[in-house]
């Protein structure tokens, strides 16, 4: 946005139309000399050729545009940039996402459980405002993908590049929580939250889920647990990222409802069963609205004067007219 420090000078713009009239249209204007053809005694003038008239027209337009720009520059144009500055620290939110092969079960339209989870996490983060977010994924092992950061674009890029099965066949819920807790330890946030999304039973890892939950509870970290999936036989299809072979089959398995609710309870969070993409979406948006803290912010206004650029442009336009009239067409006076 552009503002002017001395808008009063803009009144000068009112001088431009009368000047244009006087200079180009007023019958009594000067710069013309009347004379008699009897004195001239040479051949009559031909009308100026097309190109010359065009050149003069561009010169005139350039000149008046230049004058207008110079008047604008006089009014002190400034580019204004507004930035919201938060005065309070947001909540740290860590997603812990299951990427074991069972997440490829196709009971969550349009693709599978994993893609459904990925898309709701994306929606969640896009709706946040100045709360650091992080990402841990787990299969047989758990790995930090994104530390808690305000760099949402980095988070979303990492989330997009996440692939199923990169961490082996297994479900190490305990390790997933433990890694998330480890990376929240140094955080200065007053409130820290882990959101765990899984569809299986804990069957791998050196740390049990309840131990990690206890550690989280002792550090004041709240864990929301979301169990993904329907019961019964579910078609499954996934591609192993290493061998690039595609596996198809029928999957039967459920998450450990009791474990997930215990984890949530010990840490002061909540357990949600997600049986369809729609339900999952609702769960995520309800967590999104619950986990809010009051934020204080102010607007920081930065201005940058741009008069030099405008003066330079106006000057060049006026000089263009000079070159056309005096330089090329040899206008006198």
């Amino acid at each position: 946005m552009i503002t002017f420090t001395h808008p009063g000078f803009l009144l000068l713009l009112a001088v431009v139309p009368p000047l244009v009239y006087l200079r180009h249209f007023w019958p009594g204007r000067g710069g013309r000399l009347s004379f008699s053809f009897t004195i001239w005694q040479k051949e009559v003038f031909r009308p100026a050729i097309h190109f010359t008239r065009l050149l003069i027209a561009t010169g005139n337009i350039a000149f008046w545009t230049g004058i207008i720009l110079l008047i604008l520059a006089l009014a002190g144009p400034e580019l204004v940039k507004k930035e919201k500055i938060y005065l309070t620290r947001g909540i740290d939110i860590m997603f812990v996402l299951d990427e074991s092969p069972s997440m490829a079960a196709r009971d969550f339209a349009p693709a599978n459980r994993f893609e459904a989870a990925r898309s709701v996490i994306k929606d969640f983060v896009e709706a946040r405002d100045h709360d650091p977010v992080g990402l841990v994924s787990f299969g047989k092992d758990a790995v930090l993908r994104v530390p808690p950061t305000l760099d949402y674009s980095f988070f979303l890029r990492s989330l997009d590049s996440l692939k199923m099965m990169e961490l082996g066949n297994g479900t190490a819920i305990g390790m997933g929580i433990a890694v998330a807790v480890l990376h929240l330890v140094h955080s200065s946030a007053r409130e820290k939250v882990i959101i765990l999304l899984t569809d299986g039973e804990n069957n791998a890892g050196e740390i049990t889920p309840l131990t990690s939950a206890a550690i989280a509870a002792s550090l004041g970290i709240k864990i929301y647990t979301i169990g993904i999936g329907t019961s019964g036989d579910v078609p499954l299809e996934y591609t192993d990222p290493e061998s690039e072979r595609t596996f198809r089959g029928v999957y039967r398995g459920v998450y450990d409802k009791e474990l997930l609710s215990t984890i949530a309870l010990t840490t002061g969070g909540r357990f949600f069963p997600a049986t369809s993409p729609g339900v999952l979406k609702n769960i995520i948006s309800s967590i999104n609205s619950v986990e809010r803290i009051e934020k204080r912010s102010r607007i920081k206004i930065e201005t940058r004067p741009v008069h030099r650029e405008i003066i330079l442009l106006g000057f060049l336009l006026v000089m263009y007219n000079f070159i056309v009239r005096k330089g090329i067409l040899n206008e006198v006076v």
């Binding site: 001395h6 000068l12 001088v15 000047l19 006087l22 200079r23 007023w26 009594g28 204007r29 000067g30 710069g31 013309r32 000399l33 004379f35 004195i39 001239w40 004058i67 110079l70 008047i71 520059a73 006089l74 002190g76 930035e83 500055i85 938060y86 100045h130 650091p132 992080g134 930090l144 994104v146 530390p147 808690p148 950061t149 305000l150 760099d151 949402y152 980095f154 988070f155 990376h183 929240l184 330890v185 140094h186 955080s187 200065s188 920081k300 004067p305 008069h307 030099r308 003066i311 330079l312 000057f315 006026v318 000089m319 000079f322 005096k326 330089g327 040899n330 206008e331 006198v332 006076v333």
Partner: protein, 325 residues
């Protein structure tokens, strides 16, 4: 004080402009008598001379004053700029092959990474990010309070992270600049580690962009001026097309230029006290408010004079004098 002294070169335009006016005046005089007739020669010449003289004069005054307004004279107003007490610091580490040279044992790269760790342990309570670059830059660890994540990021740094060639410091710095999250008033510092060898890309325009964003750059030069032969991944010495061994040297002038351009300091990775100096510089820059001279730009007067001149120029042309032209 003149803010943009280079603009004053535009004053040289006055010479060709004057030449054009003189040329046109001479030619015009000849035509004038042919058209106007000998019988009113005297009267025509008076008007012609007066109009010609004054319109040339005011046009040149227009150029003169416009150029002065472009140069911008500062009144030297001072204001106190409060430096935010917290900082975001992004480390931009060069991972080109030359950073593996062992003139700083075990290698320029590992010595640089040691310094990164040193700075983190010396400067507390800030947020850190990690960017590596070669022909292009990439964020490895986004700006975070999570030091462990940064340590993990440091472990993974090696020249094999990218296949791109060359050392585009500009691209690396721009990646680092884009890694700062907004929304908070924090001092923003990039700490660059490079040997400045085999440069590519447009460094200066990148530096300007970063300066406009108000980001400071501190520079660590890794390597020795004597240099060391460059080796490929398989350990063979790299030769140029004439068969000479390629030596990767520390390009100190370029790195010092980056630091001075961005208001930061330059340190040698080699020197044992650079860690202490850098850490002290960061801490002291965060705990003080500084007085800064701002442009009390007084271009308005000159621009008013310029517009006045060009209006007079127009009026001389518009109104016929002595009923002649």
């Amino acid at each position: 004080m003149i803010l943009h002294p280079a603009s004053l070169w535009l004053l040289t335009l006055l010479v060709p402009v004057m030449a054009v006016f003189l040329r046109n005046f001479r030619r015009g005089r000849y035509e004038l008598f042919k058209i106007g007739g000998e019988w009113r020669r005297h009267q025509l010449y008076d008007v012609y001379f007066v109009k010609g003289f004054f319109s040339s004069l005011v046009f040149m005054l227009f150029i003169f004053f416009t150029v002065l307004s472009l140069a911008g004279f500062s009144g030297g107003k001072k204001r106190i700029v409060e430096v935010p007490p917290k900082a975001d610091i992004v480390f931009a580490v060069d991972i080109s092959r030359s950073m593996l040279c062992d003139d700083l044992p075990p290698s320029r790269l590992s010595r640089s990474l040691e310094l990164v760790k040193g700075i983190i342990s010396r400067v507390h309570g800030e947020r850190y990010g990690l960017v590596v670059f070669k022909g292009r830059g990439a964020v490895i660890t986004p700006v975070t309070e999570d030091y462990d994540a940064l340590m993990l990021g440091l472990l993974s740094v090696s020249p094999s992270m990218f296949t791109s060639k060359g050392t585009n410091i500009g691209a690396g710095l721009l990646s680092a600049a884009s890694a700062f999250p907004g929304g908070e008033e924090r001092k923003r510092i990039i700490i660059l580690f490079s040997d400045g060898d085999n440069l590519s890309g447009d460094l200066e325009s990148a530096l300007k962009k970063i300066k406009n964003k108000g980001i400071d750059i501190m520079v660590f030069g890794a390597g020795t001026v004597e240099g060391r032969e460059l080796k490929t991944a398989s350990g063979t010495v790299v030769k140029d097309k004439d068969g000479n061994t390629v030596i990767a040297r520390l390009n100190r002038p370029v790195l010092k230029f980056i630091a001075s351009f961005s208001g930061g300091r330059y340190y040698d990775v080699e020197s044992p006290d650079s860690l202490n100096r850098a850490a002290d510089d960061i801490t002291s820059s965060l705990s003080s408010s500084k007085v800064e001279t701002v442009r009390g730009d007084s271009y308005t007067f000159y621009l008013v004079m310029a517009l006045l001149s060009i209006f007079i120029f127009l009026l001389i042309r518009i109104f016929p004098w002595k009923d002649v032209f």
